[in-house]
């Protein structure tokens, strides 16, 4: 396995459902500690790191004698489930943490709680289905998680109320692509780690590995307030829906066509100057890129751009098929091109980039 895939594997297999990101945080801290000047964990659990820039504080009129502050963001949390009840026969009742798709749940393997107790979402065998039942999608409230407990007592000891459960998916290589859970947004975390590992940039780099994106962009909001950057980039693993369809229509993004740049989604409108910086860089250096289909989804940039007096922001993402499911799939070429595009674009960014006509 190539080295970068090893990092992605470690991040993907770490468990960190929104509000319980400790295991992911440990992997992140271990990976970046040697490469940054300052590192801290803030009140909500975000990892905030600082890497000083090499530029002399600029003399340009916009600078106010300060070095440019650029924020890079990737969220550590993943979607999952939380235990909300125990049946008399030892099954767990659960609710969604983040955007869970009930179509995917029956028969899915889980890891429950800090001890990673194996569990499976109960499913009625096909032999017993009544007529028409197979055409319906069971809803989460009607499903149970089986951890092998025989009684309510045993179940509530093993997995008390409030226990988190995450998908239990091993990372794999499938030809030139890799598959695993939580690529939204461990792919972004891995890109961010790669950027921090490299040489210093001219500007002061502030990076945030954030918590609770999937439940309302909460970590990013306070991280951006603390950092007060001049501009921000959210790094993501985004929807690729280039799967077979019966009509010529726009895919949100497609695998293998390079990093996906967001112009507008449901949470924010990207800053056009940053979009142009990215596309100009990609064209000149012949790095493939694509636009994410506008109007879909939301990312931490929805919170970043609102911090303090406002922060020009953009989102750059690695296209991932089947996100918000137990297993996603991404192209390592796309991953590598995302790192390259970000590195090259960032190396060109100056106060001038943010000048308005």
């Amino acid at each position: 396995m190539i080295l970068k895939a090893l990092l992605l594997k470690a991040l993907s297999e770490a468990v960190g459902v929104s509000g319980d990101e400790g295991s992911v945080r440990a992997v992140v801290i271990e990976a970046v500690r040697e490469h940054v000047d300052e590192l801290k964990v803030d009140a909500l659990g975000n990892v905030l790191v600082f890497k000083r820039g090499t530029d002399e504080p600029s003399a340009s009129p916009e600078s106010g004698g300060q070095r440019l502050r650029v924020m890079l963001d990737a969220h550590m949390d993943e979607i999952g489930l939380m235990v909300v009840g125990h049946d008399s026969d030892g099954f767990l009742r659960v609710r969604a943490v983040g955007g869970i798709d009930p179509r995917l749940l029956p028969g899915t393997l889980l890891q429950v709680g800090p001890e990673r107790i194996p569990g499976v979402i109960g499913v009625k065998p096909i032999h017993l289905l009544e007529e028409g039942e197979g055409q319906k999608v069971p809803q989460l409230k009607d499903l149970v998680v089986d951890i092998g407990a025989a009684s309510k007592d045993e179940a509530s000891k093993l997995a008390p109320l409030g226990t988190y459960a995450a998908f239990a998916t091993q990372f794999r290589e499938i030809g030139p692509t890799v598959s695993g859970k939580a690529f939204d947004d461990r792919a972004g975390c891995a890109v961010l780690v790669e950027l921090l590992k490299g040489d210093r940039f001219g500007f002061d780099l502030h990076a945030a590995f954030t918590v609770q994106e999937e439940v309302g962009l909460r970590g990013a909001r306070v991280a951006a307030y603390a950092i007060a950057p001049d501009c921000a980039f959210a790094l993501e693993g985004t929807i690729a829906d280039d799967i077979p369809k019966d009509k010529d229509a726009s895919p949100t993004t497609a695998l293998g066509k390079g990093p996906a740049i967001t112009v507008m989604d449901r949470s924010f409108i990207a800053d056009r100057r940053l979009v142009r910086l990215l596309t100009d860089t990609a064209r000149e250096l012949k790095i493939p890129y694509q636009f994410k289909q506008p109007g879909i989804g939301g990312t931490d940039a929805g919170a970043l751009h609102l911090a303090r007096q406002g922060v020009p922001s953009v989102t750059v993402a690695v296209p991932c098929r089947y996100i918000h499911s137990p297993v996603a799939l991404l192209s390592m070429d796309d991953f590598e091109n995302t790192v390259q595009l970000m590195r090259q674009a960032l190396s060109r960014i100056t106060w001038r980039t943010l000048r308005r006509n």
Partner: protein, 328 residues
């Protein structure tokens, strides 16, 4: 003022791409400003210094308008799109949209639909810019366009696209023009990205730290056939907001507007809006909180390409704001 309104409503400025409208407004206000800046998200902030002893007052009107954005260009050069802000497919078919470079497209609807009696979905609409292939299509994914409809004045009614909220921008510009003396430090904010996320007003307010904020925006009316009940009528004066879906107006701001209107004999109405909101909803939550209210210009057919306001209401809005600013 009619020429100013005509100029403002005719300028391109969908949310997120406000460069053209900002330049037009800037040219109007720069000679009148004590200070002028463009803040990080692109809002235009104009300061008029007070004579002293007053408060720091923020007046907001958003300069962005609703529109559409290209999501896909097919191999024949037809353009698929999504909406920017609250666009209804009902108002799209047969309409025209203009891109920043002047390219105009016609919105059409797929003919083979399952139920042609239903309002089409956005996925069933497309824009035809006259291209013959994807290669010669002059617009691409991410390009934004606004509706096209000429400005019309008929009697006292003014009709155009983008009255929401260029009419508020016009009221602010005119208020600034006529403002002779005020004890207050007044910030006129022409904000970005209201129609999508109320982002510009929120971030500008953070930078200004006002004692009091008033959004100047359009509101709906209850005076058209079979409309939802609402006490606001076109031509009966500007509306002082009591509440809408996003906020309850601060009683001090509401009462201040009402008191000044009564003292100066400016007609006004009280407004309770049961759908929609304005920048005041975002401004009131900034920092430790900002007493905020809203002066609304009654407007029929909001978010269609033919939004209708009454010229008298516009004039009275300017008069009421001047009363508020010039009193101690």
């Amino acid at each position: 003022m009619r020429e100013l309104i005509r100029k403002l409503v005719g300028t391109h400025g969908p949310s997120g791409v406000e460069d053209q409208i900002r330049a037009v407004i800037r040219a109007e206000v720069e000679p009148l400003a004590d200070e002028l800046r463009v803040d990080p998200l692109g809002s235009l902030v104009v300061r008029k210094r007070g004579g002293g002893g007053g408060q720091r007052i923020l007046l907001d009107a958003h300069m962005d308008e609703i529109g559409v954005m290209v999501t896909y260009v097919d191999e024949k050069g037809f353009v698929r799109f999504t909406r920017i802000g609250g666009v209804n497919p009902l108002n799209c078919v047969g309409g025209r949209v203009a891109f920043a470079d002047g390219t105009v497209g016609v919105i059409a609807v797929e003919e083979k639909r399952e139920d042609t009696k239903k309002v089409p979905r956005f996925e069933q609409l497309y824009i035809d810019v006259g291209a013959t292939s994807g290669d010669d299509c002059p617009v691409g994914v991410g390009d934004a366009a606004v509706f096209v409809r000429p400005f019309l004045a008929q009697g006292t009614r003014l009709i155009s696209k983008a009255m929401d909220d260029r009419i508020g921008c016009a009221v602010l510009v005119e208020t600034l023009r006529r403002l002779e003396h005020t004890p207050h430090d007044v910030y006129f904010v022409f904000s970005v990205q209201e129609e999508t996320t109320l982002s510009g007003a929120r971030t500008s307010t953070y930078g200004i730290e006002p004692d009091l904020a008033i959004a100047v925006d359009v509101t709906g009316t209850g005076d058209t056939p079979e409309c939802r009940p609402m006490a606001v009528k076109l031509g009966q004066g500007p509306a002082v907001k009591v509440q809408d879906r996003g906020m309850i107006a601060h009683p001090l701001v509401r009462d201040l507007l009402v008191r000044r209107a009564k003292e100066a004999n400016v007609p006004y109405q009280l407004e309770v809006l049961e759908y929609g909101t304005t920048n005041a909803a975002a401004m009131q939550l900034v920092r430790a909180g900002v007493p905020s209210g809203c002066l609304s210009i009654p407007c029929r057919y909001i978010h269609t390409p033919s939004e209708m306001v009454d010229e008298e209401d516009v004039e009275h809005s300017v008069q009421l704001l001047l009363e508020v600013l010039q009193a101690a």
